[in-house]
């Protein structure tokens, strides 16, 4: 992304162990960089922790981000770290408000890259309307990290109309996916060493909280469940739902939205798009009566243009996800085993 502010002046070109030592270098990094860039009334207090006001039920979640490379088509680790936690809160039916931010930086990371990540975090916070209110910075020796690892933890009040709960999922409910699948995983793969290929597929990393809150406002309890299919992809999340509800899920392959380029890349790489990671889509299970209207509303949103009903919750084949293939056959879609490994031919 473009830097929207000037990079802070700093004598060091690289992060050194001293930047995590707690002394003057750490202070300089925080004062000149982190606090200035992420400034807000709670962070500006510079206390050991943030004092926040929370009334009523709230959601609380945490996530760590380790990704190679840290800058990838369509985003970077900073943006991902904010959006990931924001989206997890949104999946609980909460309105994300406050985030913590912890860095584990590998000695030698370029200072320029660190600032880029930080500005990206700021921009993602603005887009999601959340504040970083506390955090931590540690530096590990060269070779003991992978440039930078980020942990974010988030809290947010539950939306008053939210009733997101696995126990509310019933046979006959419909399964909706909010946009095209598999873009994030394929974009990352396209820039990994040894697997590079030319494409303009971008990661779908983005905050989904505004779109989810709009849905909850209108449809409330009709929305039974929200899940974001990150690692393990659509298949793994749907398997978790089937397992935990003890119901079956039938999918229709033809209805699963996937961009042609992503489909092509999956064909070439021998990957199944159902198992490829996403960062900016969600699955929702909804009461059948409102499903079409929900899809129509999602389609009006820039992050939900390709939202579609892709399947149904059923009493048949309990705890299993079964998909009708494009030519009318059926197959079980299992949970991902280990890591999806590219095939030989």
């Amino acid at each position: 992304m473009q830097l929207s502010c000037p990079v802070p002046t700093n004598d060091y070109e690289q992060i050194t162990l001293g930047h995590g030592g707690g002394g003057t270098l750490t202070n300089k990094l925080l004062q000149e960089g982190v606090f200035t860039i992420l400034s807000n009334e709670l962070l500006d207090v510079h206390h050991d922790g943030a004092i926040i006001q929370m009334d009523g039920p709230a959601a609380f979640t945490t996530d760590s981000f380790v990704i190679t490379p840290i800058f990838f088509p369509g985003g970077d680790i900073g943006e991902l770290a904010v959006n990931g936690t924001v989206n997890d809160l949104a999946m609980c039916g909460a309105i994300p408000e406050f985030l913590s931010l912890s860095f584990i930086i590998e000695e030698g990371m370029l200072m320029q890259d660190f600032w880029k990540v930080l500005y990206s975090i700021k921009s993602a916070c603005n887009q999601a309307n959340v504040k970083i209110v506390t955090g931590d910075t540690k530096v590990v020796e060269k070779g003991k990290g992978d440039q930078i690892f980020i942990n974010t933890t988030g809290v947010g009040k539950l939306h008053p109309k939210a009733q997101i709960n696995l126990s509310r999922v019933e046979a006959g409910d419909l399964v909706i996916v909010s946009d095209v699948v598999a873009s994030h995983g394929i974009s990352i793969m396209s820039v990994r060493e040894g697997l590079e290929f030319e494409t303009d597929i971008l990661s779908d990393t983005r905050p989904m909280n505004h779109m989810v809150i709009d849905l909850l406002e209108i449809y409330g309890s009709t929305i039974r469940l929200l899940k974001d299919p990150t690692r393990g992809g659509l298949a793994s999340v749907l398997n978790e739902i089937a397992r935990d509800t003890r119901l079956g899920i039938s999918l229709d392959e033809k209805k699963i939205p996937i961009a042609d380029q992503v489909k092509g890349a999956c064909e070439i790489l021998g990957l199944d798009p159902l198992y490829v990671a996403n960062e900016g889509i969600f699955i929702t299970i909804v009461a059948a009566k409102d499903a079409e209207e929900i899809v129509a509303d999602l389609n009006k949103n820039e992050f939900g243009k390709h939202a579609a009903i892709i399947g149904e919750v059923t009493k048949e084949h309990p705890q299993k996800v079964v998909m009708k293939s494009g030519i009318g056959g059926k197959r079980v879609v299992n949970m991902l085993v280990g890591e999806q490994l590219p095939r030989i031919c």
Partner: protein, 367 residues
């Protein structure tokens, strides 16, 4: 997507299914040779849709499945050498060796890289002159040209720290070994489209004549497979045996002459051990004397104990089509994709892994 969507068309697929039903009058055992075809049959749910008389038998055409266990051990041993970077195709990493697999070795600190192209391994060798870079060159005739090209390129640009650990296998000798096995009972073959794209189709003519068996060179999309099955059954029902080419949009009679030239330059034909099956004469490629310094088998002196397969694994019988995966007592129990006892449970192209999924459909839908 052109050349994909039309071959996944539901209407066309249904038409071919109807045609198959209208011509088939008795049971036929048809072996799809290639693991890619097995994968497609299962992924698209085709096995369920075919009439009962059509019994698809899954062949040995999964390179992951037939790479001998001692070569996996050798690859692991090389990877554990601190001076070596081992490069491999992805799905080789989970294949069990005699004690562990390449993923375990990677977790223990071995430098193992997953690549799509051996040419990338040559670049890695160029940028790591202090290391030996070994590419684990497995596969059928399909992957041989790219592996050959990597060796030619390494020689041309003088990259001496590059070598290939080859486990190349050839399809026609394996088909012959299956036909010679008294226990196998195959009536027709779907030959592997991609292998024929490289090698052409003429080497299958002698098989057709010798064994009086129809062979149809077939593609991988559902409509390809159904058309290939239909062409085979028409021949069987009429008492014919011919070599036919369903995949003519890709496969030319003479194959890809440039690729063949490269393969012949770098590789010699040799006897090869197939995992689970045993030694088959003239069924593999080994790096020729001219390129010997790029042959990891010669470059590194690795002495390993004799490796043994897991006692309860019946992979050999499965790969020859004598037994179906679910007839194995450990199928889906001790042996599953997460903890495979044998190689066919590893790759999605392996018959056991494919059946693992397929059987679950049957169970689910009858519950």
């Amino acid at each position: 997507m052109k050349y994909v969507n039309e071959y996944r068309d539901e209407g066309l697929a249904q038409d071919y299914l109807e045609k198959i039903k209208s011509v088939v009058t008795q049971p036929w055992n048809i072996m799809e040779v290639c693991g890619g075809q097995t994968h497609s049959l299962v992924k698209n749910g085709l096995i369920d849709l075919l009439p009962e008389q059509v019994n698809m038998i899954h062949g040995p055409g999964c390179p992951v499945c037939v790479t001998p266990i001692h070569l996996i051990d050798k690859a692991i041993n090389l990877a554990e050498n601190e001076g070596v970077i081992l490069c491999s195709y992805g799905d080789m990493l989970r294949v069990p060796g005699s004690k562990r697999n390449l993923l375990d070795a990677k977790a223990n600190g071995a430098d193992i890289r997953i690549l799509y192209s051996p040419l990338e391994a040559v670049s890695i060798a160029q940028s790591n002159p202090e290391k030996e870079v070994v590419f684990f060159a497995v596969g059928f005739e399909t992957t041989a040209p790219a592996n050959a090209m990597s060796v030619i390129q390494a020689k041309e640009i003088g990259v001496d720290n590059y070598s290939v650990l080859t486990s190349h296998v050839l399809v026609p000798p394996a088909m012959e070994a299956i036909m010679n096995d008294d226990k196998s009972n195959i009536h027709g073959f779907l030959a592997a489209g991609h292998v024929c794209t490289i090698m052409g189709i003429s080497e299958y003519e002698p098989l057709v004549k010798k064994y009086k068996i129809p062979i149809v060179v077939t593609g991988f999309e559902p409509v390809d497979l159904l058309q290939g099955i239909f062409m085979t059954i028409v021949q069987l029902e009429r008492g014919m045996y011919e070599l036919q080419n369903q995949y003519s949009r890709v496969v030319k009679k003479g194959g890809n002459p440039k690729a063949i030239t490269m393969v012949e330059k770098v590789f010699d034909i040799t006897n090869r051990v197939w995992r689970g099956i045993g030694s088959i004469p003239d069924s593999g490629f080994e790096v020729s004397a001219e390129y010997e310094r790029f042959n990891a088998n010669k470059k590194f002196d690795i002495q390993l104990d004799e490796a043994e397969e897991h006692k309860s694994c019946i992979a050999g019988q499965v790969l020859k089509g004598i037994k179906k995966p679910h007839e194995c007592p450990e199928f889906g129990k001790k042996c599953n994709p997460e903890f495979p006892l044998g190689a066919p449970m590893v790759s999605s192209e392996g018959a056991c892994a494919a059946y693992y999924h397929f059987n679950h459909v049957e169970e689910s839908l009858t519950q």
